[in-house]
Symmetry: C2
Subunit: 313 residues, 2 copies
């Protein structure tokens, strides 16, 4: 079944017509803070795709929309989309005025989790939990192949569970959340903190002495080259992430944990270490299987493909 | 619809025939480590109830069983019941040999959560999450009036999410779990630690100088009498519990949080303080409702009544 997936980002709105998790035709609209203009251009793009393929809205299952920020799914509403400053916009209704089909809205981490479960790396599994390790830590929960968003689409904020009460300040206002320790942003902070303690670290050479050049790869790269400070950073990061994953196991005991976002590009190296940690501290799970730990595979298209899955039963 | 609920405890097995959440007739069997004997006596008790009421197994929806420890629901199996030393016993099959009806097994915290949602304090709400604050911290999750146990009935271990990574040793083998800070056992430890720091505390007088007499009420009682040390203990405990509850909100955003177990006997005093804390640190939840926080009302019968709900659709 064909469906439109829309991935709203801070820089652009990406639109794709998908069939069975493959993008058949796509468009991109440069994002604007003017909501009306953005919706108009998005509808133009959808209609242009349908026109190109010689089909109408009656030939698609509907339109799925993923966006950063908070939504109220039952009302097809974006509550707040910080990057664009959109607040309380009824995006499903807005699009429906021009294209009358089923429209479902969810947040980007939920959408990515659904995409990976239905079409991506977790498609073998009925239940999976995704953590996106990027600027923040997003969460997505799939139970029996269905997206679970929590009440009023306000749950599944898995980056905002406590890891260290009273610890690092989190963007959500609380202290010590998983996001404040396991996001790419947190990894970069941890890298810089360690560099300031160890001026001899190889990490300083790689960034030409400019701490502003630190990224989420640096510690992983320098650890491979034998740098002890880098190893310390990575070891700690693995502990934070693994403890977060063990929490997910204790809540959901999913068949698979899917890691996405920038840090997941570390692939096997990261997965092996997290698995080793989880197996070592597995005492509390006696008799319970350790879930598969996998890295997301849909990449940049996860937003479009996952969104299309929102309207496919 | 009538159903049998069975509550397996360390001291006794309580059996009740329930109708609409009320116990019509009940029996008690003294618990024995001999599994075969325990099952025989339990079946005798069930048949005696049915006989008393002049009905057969065809007149009941089935038999629900709640027990401490771990179960595999899909196999009607108790994996491990530490108090009695039962391991890998197929209790549903064992009972079915004498009483052929639908039999469902779950753990005691799940069962309590279901009972409170269907028949107890949370019956107004489609979704609720229960934390039992006793020897440990048990968790139960109700989504759309249905029990969610996680994969292989091995999830919903909400007491075993991290509150302080690397903190107090938890019985599950990890360190810093919610259970290690918010259980009645933890509250007693926190009370004793504070008493050792403050020999002038009223708490010493109440226990006649015997620290072994500390219980989960002591700090709450002495705080009311104006004792500063006791207030410190209670304030800290409220922080631990509130942070745990905020985590539950971020995962599930349930309509209600239900507190059970010994500590929940503090009732309104505890609820008010937890609510105040959650509202104060509510930043991350803007636009999301703060769930009701309630204390369990089914009391000692929660195990029987909740278990009966396992077999009622």
């Amino acid at each position: 079944m064909k469906a439109i997936g829309i991935d709203i980002g801070g820089m652009s709105i990406k639109i794709g017509l998908c069939e069975d998790g493959k993008i058949i035709s796509r468009r991109k609209v440069i994002t604007t803070k003017d909501y009306g203009e953005a919706i108009d251009k998005t509808c133009d793009a959808i209609l242009s795709i349908l026109n190109e393929l010689g089909i109408t809205e009656n030939d698609i299952a509907g339109i799925g929309i993923g966006c950063p920020g908070t939504v109220t799914g039952s009302q097809g509403k974006i509550d707040f989309l910080p990057n664009l400053g959109w607040k309380d916009v009824y995006i499903a209704d807005s699009i429906k005025k021009r294209i009358d089909t089923k429209i479902v809205v969810s947040n980007d981490a939920n959408v990515a989790a659904l995409g990976e479960n239905i079409y991506g790396v977790a498609k073998k599994y009925d239940s999976s939990v995704m953590l996106t390790l990027g600027t923040g830590v997003g969460g997505g929960i799939i139970i029996d192949r269905k997206l679970y968003e929590g009440g009023e689409s306000k749950g599944a904020e898995l980056g905002h569970l406590t890891l260290i009460l009273g610890g690092e300040q989190c963007g959500c206002g609380r202290k010590g959340c998983i996001e404040a320790y396991a996001s790419a942003t947190a990894l970069m902070r941890q890298t810089r903190e360690e560099m300031l303690l160890n001026k001899d670290s190889l990490m300083w050479k790689i960034v030409d002495g400019d701490i502003e050049k630190v990224d989420g790869k640096l510690a992983f790269d320098c650890e491979k080259a034998g740098d002890k400070s880098a190893k310390k950073v990575v070891d700690n990061y693995v502990t934070y992430l693994s403890e977060a994953i063990m929490n997910m196991c204790n809540i959901f005991r999913p068949q698979a944990i899917v890691l996405g976002g920038g840090v997941s590009a570390q692939g096997d190296n990261l997965v092996k270490r997290v698995k080793a940690y989880c197996e070592k501290f597995n005492y509390g799970y006696r008799g319970a299987p350790v879930p598969e730990i996998l890295c997301a595979t849909l990449g940049n298209d996860a937003g479009i493909i996952g969104a299309s899955a929102l309207v496919i039963e």
